[in-house]
């Protein structure tokens, strides 16, 4: 009898090297249905020891491939040994697809870099210093700083992943369509980081401005 000699974890679970975690889980269930003690398919084929060893290997394959970090490390070993090619492993390839409304599908890293450069301009700094010195910060202020830096809403979205409609609601002070505060705070932090200004001041100033506006209504 042969065991799993010479087979890698993907081959043991009979899945391609670029399988999703869903496919890995299903393949694991299938493998268990074959190698488990109560399986009709392997009834009496293996001794208890053989079956135990095979099951352990199947479990090891599953626990390695289902864990993103372990899988990446394992893929690296396979790549080094030349068992698979770069193009078919790399889990990075299957991360979130590009957003439909970014007209140019550049890599988010390069967008981020470009955006950051923009906010480093001198005149932007003067404007933001002036705004940050205030107690209240409105959506208009946010928009002014963003436009001064020459950052498009779509670029903002590409880096922060905040949807364009929420960004607009923030800038236009549309209280009724703003997300709950817990999310809003986080969005403001991203927004501020994008402009490379102090997030705390932005969050405090903006929330104060919003609560004052609410009272006025």
């Amino acid at each position: 009898m042969k065991n799993f000699e010479g087979l890698n974890f993907y081959e043991i679970l009979k899945i391609p090297a670029n399988s999703t975690s869903f496919e890995i889980k299903r393949a694991y269930q299938d493998a268990l249905s074959i190698y488990n003690e109560d399986s009709l398919v392997t009834y009496s084929l293996f001794s208890n020891e053989e079956r135990g060893n095979l099951l352990n290997t199947v479990k090891e394959a599953y626990s390695t491939l289902i864990d993103e970090n372990k899988r990446a490390a394992y893929d690296a070993i396979l790549l080094d040994s030349g068992q698979v090619e770069m193009s078919i492993t790399s889990i990075q390839n299957q991360k979130t697809p590009p957003h439909a409304h970014t007209s140019h599908m550049t890599d988010s890293d390069t967008v981020e870099e470009r955006v950051r450069k923009k906010s480093r301009k001198k005149e932007v700094e003067t404007l933001s210093n002036e705004i940050l010195s205030r107690d209240l910060i409105s959506g208009d202020d946010l928009k002014k700083m963003r436009e001064a830096a020459g950052i498009e809403l779509s670029e903002m979205n590409a880096v922060t992943k905040i949807s364009v409609s929420v960004l607009k609601s923030m800038e236009e002070n549309r209280i009724e369509s703003l997300p709950p505060n817990i999310y809003l705070k986080n969005f403001l932090r991203h927004y501020a980081e994008m402009l490379q200004i102090d997030p705390k001041k932005i969050i405090d100033g903006y929330l104060k401005h919003i609560s004052l506006t609410k009272k006025k209504l």
Binding site: M1, K2, N3, F4, K14, I34, L40, V41, T42, Y43, S44, L45, S47, E49, E50
Partner: protein
């Protein structure tokens, strides 16, 4: 060159004889010249399933030299192109066949001039059955989807496998440690650590040769008496599993549905396929027959039995 298909499987009552008769009938109906040989020595039934009242016998006349050529003992059946060689009138002690007689039968079978030769084998894993199964490198084993039958099938495969190994090792020069392991297999050597490993240890040069010899063997199997409520992928799973864990090839030919009328046709001594050509099991076997006709013959082995 005739294609020989031994039909075996460890357990009794799984339908070896029924499948042999049905496959033979369908191969004959598709225009091939077919002979069925009852090699369930001491437990012959095939003549009954074929509806033949055997008064002459077949293999017995060949063994006692009344008939010189085995081919002349073949009798026609109700189906055109389908011939039959009986063993029902052999001696009551025929189950314990002499070694020389066994070789005589095997050699004669390999010389028969037919398109297809189907061998209906007996139950169990005695040497005669195993050697008849090894007459060809494309034996079919019949199994039913039950633990008892599956257990006996795996035992049968392992027994064939070991027998095959013995033949290979006996005929070629292997290290004495290998010869010893094969001729006195303790329980472990038959199952797990594998003769291959022993060869690897003592005779590394011969490892590829042994692997190739074993991979030249192609087991085919059929799941018979298959009921509708079962997982239809069992056969594919077994095929895949065996290809993974044995050094030989396995091909799943298909499921054959359960049908009470099969029992009826045995009672009335009629060929089922002939009587109910459109019953589900008949359709199933028709598909299997087509698969067999369309398979390119595996490189035949001769002279492996000594």
């Amino acid at each position: 060159m005739a294609q020989i298909y031994p039909i075996g499987g460890g357990k009794g009552g799984v339908g070896k004889t029924f499948i042999t008769a049905s496959l033979g009938a369908l191969l004959a109906k598709s225009g091939k010249k077919v002979v069925l040989i009852d090699l369930d020595l001491g437990g012959s039934n095939l003549h009954t399933v074929l509806g033949i009242n055997d008064q002459q016998g077949g293999i017995n006349r060949f063994l006692d030299k009344t008939v010189k050529n085995l081919e002349n003992t073949a009798v026609p059946t109700v189906i055109q192109n389908l011939f039959f060689i009986s063993s029902s009138l052999c001696s009551m002690e025929i189950a314990n066949l002499f070694h020389a007689h066994k070789l005589k039968i095997i050699n004669a079978i390999q010389k028969l001039a037919f398109d297809y030769i189907l061998l209906d084998l007996g139950t169990g894993t005695n040497f005669n059955t195993l050697d008849f199964f090894l007459t060809s490198n494309q034996g079919i084993f019949i199994c039913t989807p039950e633990p008892t039958a599956i257990e006996n099938s795996f035992r049968f495969i392992k027994a064939v496998y070991l027998r095959k190994l013995k033949h290979i090792v006996k005929q070629h020069s292997f290290h004495s440690a290998v010869k010893k392991a094969v001729s006195h297999p303790n329980h472990e050597a038959i199952t797990s650590p594998d003769i291959i490993e022993i060869v690897l240890k003592h005779d590394p040069d011969r490892e590829m040769f042994l692997r190739n010899s074993l991979s030249g063997f192609k087991f085919k199997f059929i799941l018979n008496q298959f009921r509708k409520n079962l997982d239809a992928t069992i056969g594919d799973k077994i095929e895949d599993l065996c290809n993974r864990h044995f050094y030989s090839n396995f091909q799943f030919l298909g499921n054959v549905g359960y049908d009470v009328r099969i029992h009826d046709s045995v009672l009335s001594k009629k060929v089922f396929i002939h009587k109910y050509p459109y019953a589900p099991p008949a359709i199933d076997i028709k598909k299997i027959t087509e698969k067999i006709i369309n398979t390119r013959p595996f490189i035949p082995l001769t002279g492996e039995i000594s």
